[in-house]
Amino acid sequence: MIYLAKEDIKHTLGKFIVTAMGVGMLLGIVLIMIGVYRGMIADARVILDDLNVDLWVVQEDTLGPFAEASRIHEDLKYTLKGYQAIDKSEAITFQNIQIPFHEKKLSVMAIGYDIYGSITPINPKRLIAGRTLKNDHYEIVVSDKTDYELGDTIPLGRDIYTVVGITHGTVASGGDPLVYVSLKDAQSLQFTYTNKRIQTDRARGIKSGDAHLVNAIIATVYPSYGVDATAKTLRKWLHKSVYTREQQTDVLTKYVVEKASKQIGLFTVILISVATIIIALIIYTMTLEKMKEISIMKLIGLPNSTIVKMIVEETLLLGVLAFIFGNIFSHLIYTKFPKNVVLETPDAFILFIIIVIASIVASFVGVKKVISADPTAAIGG
């Protein structure tokens, strides 16, 4: 049995492999783009997963601190504890700050929490050096992405903080590394101004604001009480917005990451379309190069199906080979990206299916050329 596609590819193996590598790099970028999106989703879930709480109580009519400004009173956590359904409740703050980074500034998200409380945002599994916070003031736990080491000091606001712990894989939805400070320090960072600002405010008659504000109250619910039912009750009586963990996940993925995901999705569609067009052009050129042979094959009586099979098999093989090269390429470079890139097998599988379909579509141009080829063109010089 003669496999025309195999023999043709064997004849021009180097050219075929280089072509597949080129298309493969394009598909590798597609995989990286999908990985960037997956990375954003994974990053967005870090805080939620590490906190592992059932309810988020935030400022009324807001989506919460991940989507917009939310300020509520810290003592609400005591009100919540009064509910039978609530097991634990704590106050938490989130704020974007700049810390010194190799003579530049690095944007980080600072999480403030009660170090004596029953809920900690620091996942022990992510702590790769040092310890969690033990003192109310001037200690900080940082992500390893900040490049700080244990014992390093960081000037923040009016104070200097010492690094006591380092975590790994802790980032916010935007990809910024996380740092952890005590709730008191976090409130101080938010509400304590410079001496000059205080002096100016006093001259204007402005009194110091309430510093006992936080961005959210987080709570866990006893298993015997339903989370949704508890959330409904709290909404009714507290006049606050209350979200379950799933709802807060939706806020992060649908509202915060949505635009970025749409952008990445569009880029991915464009790249796949470009890859399809490139494969089609390559196959068209490869078919054109063989037109004399194709005319001869048709003239001596070979059925179209034999020649079409060769074109379709070559296109499919090009697509599959490009997919393999794309996977290798993406796995070689994905760690070099500044943001988290998560390459998942199901995504690669879906891309594989798309590439197979795209290759079949791309082969149509070659097939059309074969069908329209004039067998009498074989005659003459």
Partner: protein, 229 residues
Amino acid sequence: MSTKQAIKVENLNKSFGKGDAFVDVIKDANFTINKGELIALIAPSGAGKTTLLMMLGCATEPNSGKIWIGEEKVFENKWLTKETRKIRREKIGFIFQAHYLIPFLNIIDNLTLLPQANKVADKESKAKARELLSYFDIADKENAMPSQLSGGQNQRVAIARALMNNPEIILADEPTAALDMNRSVDVVKMLKKIALEQDVAIVMVTHDDRMLTYCDKIMKIENKSVVFL
């Protein structure tokens, strides 16, 4: 009808174009070619040699007339089968100016490609291919690629390919055009031998008058008519 009949043509007509661009190429052609004959087809350039060859090869549709390939009538004012390619595959062999072997197939695969399309068993088609390669004295080249063979060797492979489907006729389009005098004579003598030994009719287009002495008959297109000299 004679069992020796390889090609029979009656009142065959072919024209191209319409209105001012209308051109008659072949008018009322009537001839019969028997198996075992080597026929030279001559005419000035543009007189319709290739058109006639392609009509006999069921690749160009005549306007009217009748064509028989062997005993089978294949054309009567229209093709009598949708699968003209099947007729070519089973009854006709082609030889071109250059060898036009498939460059990415080795010699044995070039020969067995057509039988494979005719659903002939692999073993059987390879045996036939090896027999022909031995007949043409190139048995040791079966695994070589066309690019590794000389022009003369490739032309012999091309002739062997034309014989692989046990054709009733072979249509040769200037098979000696690319060869020097000695090789041209060798090829034409070989075609004559094949016509006799394989009992096949060969129609060979040629511009080289020196080759005519080796042919059984000379067919000429003169004023759009086909005549035997």
